[in-house]
Symmetry: C2
Subunit: 362 residues, 2 copies
């Protein structure tokens, strides 16, 4: 097998997966090619791939089509490049949202590759730094990646439920760590979806006092079961007024534009509201920043160091995502349910159900 | 004289000044009453009062009229309450934007009274915590204030040029200190008005590398004379693009709504853009917060501890405002020039030119 990996080096590798051929279309089977193994690359057979809200945004947005989504990938190493020492054939391996960066800027030097000053290469719809090809995501049979951006599956955790850690997980882990969430801090989490449910688990395990805000009454009990100390209906003006100047930090995981004033008012002096959603503009009153010297911030996924730190923490604290496993053929229905807010809390595609396109040699 | 102060204690004190009788009106002579001396109060004869942009906003805004503006006050102590030890009759004294607060909340306990959780009492258009009267500002003959909110004139500085330190000064000093501006940091200052010119002086004296952004070409040389290492026309897209990811901190002193994206792009990883203006909404793209984990913040004036720290720093570094002294009768013309951006950099009213309203016993 090591011989096979060397032989394929620099040769394109045939692949197949689920693609959106034009904006807004349903996903269909599609064949394509991936880059050949570079010396520090591994190839992995994909076993599970999480379904992220950003997959849906990419399908509906200004992406390059055909588009193969997926950036919460769990697989098994099937081939290694000539210089690979980090992995061996057969290892369980994880790939997240970023698969390359410049490697030499001030952000990359701190292993905060998500903030690479020259721009990251995303796992799908990115431009490969080696051959200029468009990257194809994890809704597919195989991935090829530099080992710097691949992680070992943490021991003791179920592979399918680990997949969402690579995006939903680290996207909440990174800001919780950046803003020193831990014992003695009162933390708000807004929204209980894929990101929010991970944020509640992490903030609780980090030792903070955790309050979950949701517009959905049915989610309050679930939030407490996941580790929240309190859960509050964010549209209840009386309850929200009682939160004034209470929070050290609020992590808002809601993707669409929504009123931020109730959360800004809830921050203590020098508190930060970190919004992970990226609407076109934000709905808030600047004077609420002035009162209390509050800060409005955002954060993007996580770097390789943070990702490894999170995986170690998850292994130690037995944390992974609450997932529902679906077959590849059910992805469009999955997107519809995701859009209706019916998923508790992350869909993961069992990629063993992915059929190789018929009449194709790949 | 101490006997006089005791005798007047708890009696209202007659006063006179320049008032705006209804929204948007010109200022006219007006008589009113101030609270009588409380045990820890001093009365001061006002010598100079700075003209702040917020005075203009108050005249045009939803204030309580009649309105006597002015919160950059320099005077001489003329009477002291029974328990006063901090001042003596004849001392040179300063009063700023805040003259009272609850005194017991978490912000007040840290002497960050500007963030008092029960709300501050402002120097004018506030509700006096002792007698419920409306506070009247420094465009007047006399002020009465608790000594906790009064400061000694720093030695070696010109009284008129110190007046603006009480608002324009501490409003920029406080965020520069909060965000650790000093040696090794690259700092942007946006706008070169009353606040901006103080920010340039402070940031330079604190040891930072200072870049001034202005829309006015004529201000570039002035900025360098005040201490800026570079000065850049903010509407020059080519120059602005070259600022990408360069700044640790940017202090934006512009009061009106303006595009923030050029400044957000100019911040380094984890950099902060602190906007002192409070428009109804802010013009920026949230994705620029996500890219580089940047923060958008604001800040309000300063507390008693910061104010004293700033005054000490100004005395040590021989810093005060660049002012133009005007007569009380010229205030409306002064407002017009302020509005047209013609002031370099702060108007200060010589209150000895204030005439006592005729036909009045005050």
């Amino acid at each position: 097998m090591p011989g096979a990996s060397v032989k394929q080096n620099r040769l394109m590798r045939p692949g197949y997966g689920l693609a959106c051929l034009a904006r807004g279309d349903r996903l269909v089977p599609w064949t394509f090619e991936r880059r050949g193994l570079q010396p520090n690359d591994i190839a992995l057979k994909i076993q599970f791939c999480g379904v992220c809200h950003s997959d849906l945004h990419a399908i509906r947005g200004n992406s390059r089509f055909p588009l193969v989504p997926g950036h919460e990938v769990v697989g098994e190493v099937t081939a290694i490049g000539a210089e690979v020492t980090k992995f061996r054939i057969g290892d369980a391996v994880l790939v997240g949202t970023i698969i390359d960066s410049c490697g030499h800027c001030s952000s990359c030097n701190r292993h905060l590759e998500q903030y690479c000053l020259e721009g990251v290469t995303t796992t799908y719809d990115g431009i490969d730094r080696h051959d200029g090809s468009i990257t194809r995501g994890g809704y597919s049979n195989e991935y090829v990646v530099d080992t710097h951006f691949a992680y070992h599956l943490p021991s003791g955790l179920d592979p399918a439920s680990v997949a969402p850690l690579l995006c939903a997980g680290v996207t909440t882990w990174s800001p919780l760590r950046q803003w020193d969430v831990g014992p003695g801090k009162t933390i708000g989490i807004v929204g209980l979806g894929g990101l929010g449910h991970m944020a509640v688990k992490f903030a609780h395990a980090l030792g903070a006092y955790v309050v979950l805000f949701s517009t959905t009454p049915e989610k309050l009990a679930s939030a407490k079961a996941l580790g929240a100390d309190e859960a509050i209906i964010s549209t209840d003006d009386v309850q929200m007024a009682a939160q004034a100047s209470r929070f050290d930090f609020i992590l808002d995981t809601v993707s669409s534009r929504h009123p931020l004033n109730p959360y800004l008012r809830s921050l203590k002096l020098d508190g930060t509201l970190c919004c992970l959603g990226i609407p076109k503009d934000m709905d808030f009153s600047p004077v609420l920043l002035t009162m209390g010297r509050r800060r409005l911030a955002s954060s993007g996924v996580g770097g390789t160091l943070e990702t490894q730190e999170m995986l170690d923490f998850c292994s130690q604290h037995n944390i992974s995502a609450d997932v529902e496993i679906i077959a590849a053929a059910d992805i469009d229905n999955g997107f519809e349910r995701l859009e209706r807010g019916e998923v508790r809390y992350r869909l993961v595609i069992d990629m063993s159900t992915l059929a190789q396109p018929t009449g194709d040699a790949a």
